[in-house]
């Protein structure tokens, strides 16, 4: 799951193939992602994993890093 998201970010959102994203890297503060790319990423995750992310889940703690997204997506699975 993390790999899929990481590939998407590297290939489609920052288009710099030489960048490697660590699981705990802060994606939001370092300028890797901006508002537009966050929206694209959410759209991608919804399609790829066939879920709906409600607006109230658009929180820093759910999207700050690959690990955070992984944990969040796991938690949505469990609550189903």
């Amino acid at each position: 799951m993390k790999q899929i998201i990481s590939n998407y970010i590297v290939e489609n959102l920052i288009s710099k193939p030489d960048i490697e994203i660590g699981s705990d890297d802060d994606l939001l503060t370092t300028g890797l992602l901006d508002s537009l790319s966050i929206m694209k990423l959410v759209g991608f995750i919804e399609k790829e994993f066939d879920i709906t992310i409600p607006p109230e889940d658009m929180l820093i703690e759910n999207f700050i890093s690959l690990n955070a997204m992984h944990n969040y997506l796991e938690s949505t699975k469990n609550s189903d």
């Binding site: 503060t29 370092t30 300028g31």
Partner: protein, 516 residues
């Protein structure tokens, strides 16, 4: 008192222990802000920064911006924010254009800063990167013992900051403000909104956007506490809404988009927003149906539309005590302070009251010039009876009640098949559609080189099955037949410039690519 450095001196002596800036969990009292700023200024002077020089700031939204700005001002130089969201080419251009030899940055910007360093720039000194042979660390600055180096006296006529905006030529243009014009706006806005020491001002805008001057200058003028909102909050509106509640924000100022994004958050009803006194917005029109909705959620807050290009800081304002009743666009209100407004036709003749024309503005909050661009400066000014007016390029008209209505940008007025069309009017119409969150209309070349109107739109909810024919019939009901867009393109979000405004140029590029 009439310079921006005096704001800091004054508040430091009046309220030394009061918190000046807050960012994430970190705080700076006025004394700490003053000390850090002074030490930075001492360092800048020691590396040769002189009065009238320009010093760059390459920072995202963070605590360091506060003492970077005041440190540069205390050194006698003007600060020039680079845009962390823009590519290195644009920032390198800005660095060359105003000869930035010193740059203030931080570790979080390291990767981007290195990209910038690969370009041709005059940068010689860097402050803020750790473990870098070419940079001085913040710790070094703050441990300097020498206070003896005297800082230059700063005068109201000295340049204070240069904000770069997109130029129609494709190169950014630098808007130069002096201490006098910056101070005048800080004082006006602090007075109009009665900002005081007990206020907590949310600073949403990045420092390359003039909206940030309300926090950094008006806030400091009255010794308020300014909360610098960091980038992750800007991107995720769920967290941002919580922050307003948790930090007991009393004064909010941003572009409308940031506020519109709150509307689909459930927390809007759950959280307590009783501290919010003022919700100020500027930068582009706030679609009235969304504004009304938000005002109904926050009935205790007063809302205000501040209007004016970066060149004049602000020139009109409208205060809304109650939510607007109809979906008509709200007005931009009346002149701010002693601002004088003329409305002229294409021959610079004043129009009759009620007629549309270009807005010309004469105010103490006006810029000094465009940096390094006397032709552009000259062509943007209009002289009448010894007074200098700035040509805003905005089309307005005066209403019966004395308020002004914004009609659109002069350059967003186009001719398609011989008909004059206001693209902004099409946007405003689409905004009224209940399922449209945002819309942006452009004209591109269609078949036989004829103009083709294309509207990009963002649905209210991300998953919608709105048929574009519904948008079309909506437009048919509300617009002249020649102004109906021939294409509607759904987007998840509209491209925006670094300052949060809709990036029409980018949309035009998108459209041109699609047609190839």
């Amino acid at each position: 008192m009439s310079t921006l450095v005096e704001l800091l001196y004054n508040s430091t002596s009046k309220t030394p222990q009061h918190i000046a800036f807050k960012c994430n969990k970190m705080t700076l009292s006025y004394t700490e802000l003053s000390k850090k700023s002074t030490l930075l200024a001492v360092y800048l002077v020691s590396v040769g920064v002189k009065k009238g020089d320009r010093v760059g700031i390459y920072l995202n939204r963070c605590l360091e911006t506060s003492f970077a700005i005041y440190g540069i001002l205390l050194s006698g130089a003007a600060y020039v924010p680079l845009d962390p969201d823009a590519g290195p080419e644009r920032n390198a251009y800005i660095a060359r254009d105003c000869d930035l030899r010193v740059i203030i940055t931080s570790n979080s910007q390291r990767r981007k800063f290195e990209e910038l360093s690969n370009h041709d720039t005059p940068i010689k000194n860097v402050v803020g990167l750790a473990n870098s042979s070419s940079s001085v660390e913040w710790d070094f600055i703050f441990q300097q013992k020498t206070f003896e180096k005297t800082l230059p006296e700063v005068l109201p006529s000295d340049i204070a900051y240069i904000l770069y905006t997109s130029g129609s030529t494709g190169f950014p243009k630098g808007i130069v403000h002096t201490h006098e014009s910056g101070f005048a706006f800080a004082k006006l806005s602090a007075n109009y909104y009665k900002i005081s020491t007990s206020d907590i001002v949310a600073n949403h805008a990045a420092i390359n956007f003039d909206i940030s001057t309300l926090g950094y200058f008006s806030g400091v003028l009255v010794s308020a506490t300014i909360v610098i909102i960091t980038d992750p909050y800007i991107m995720l509106s769920g967290s941002l809404l919580k922050l307003i509640h948790e930090e007991s924000i009393s004064i909010w100022y941003s572009v409308p988009t940031a506020l519109i994004n709150f509307l689909n958050q459930k927390a809007l009803d759950q959280e307590d927003f009783k501290h919010l006194k003022w919700v100020l917005f500027a930068g582009e029109p706030f679609p009235t149906p969304k504004l009304r909705k938000l005002m109904q959620h926050w009935p205790q807050a007063k809302f205000s539309n501040i209007f004016g290009p970066t060149e004049v800081n602000g020139c009109t304002y409208l205060i809304l005590d109650k939510a607007p009743k109809t979906d008509e666009p709200i007005s931009i209100g009346k002149a701010l302070g002693d601002t004088e407004i003329l409305i002229v036709d294409n021959h610079d003749e004043e129009v009759c009251k009620g007629d549309a024309g270009e807005m010309l503005v004469c105010t103490v909050t006006m810029m000094k010039e465009y940096w390094n661009n006397p032709e552009k400066t000259a062509s943007s000014l209009f002289l009448k009876k010894d007074k200098v007016y700035y040509r805003t390029g905005d089309m307005i008209k005066e209403n019966e009640d004395g308020n002004y209505t914004f009609l659109g940008r002069k350059d967003r007025q186009v001719k398609v098949r011989g008909y004059r069309i206001e693209l902004d009017e099409i946007d405003a119409t689409l905004w009224r559609h209940p399922r449209v969150k945002e819309a942006a209309t452009i004209v591109c070349k269609g078949e036989n080189n004829e103009g083709k109107i294309v509207s990009y739109w963002v649905p209210n909810e991300r998953k919608t099955n709105l048929d574009t024919s519904s948008l079309q019939s909506f437009c048919i009901r509300h617009l002249a037949s020649y102004a109906i867009p021939s294409e509607f393109i759904e987007q998840q979000e509209l491209p925006r410039t670094g300052r949060g405004k809709i990036d029409y140029m980018k949309l035009e590029c998108l459209q041109n690519e699609e047609q190839k």
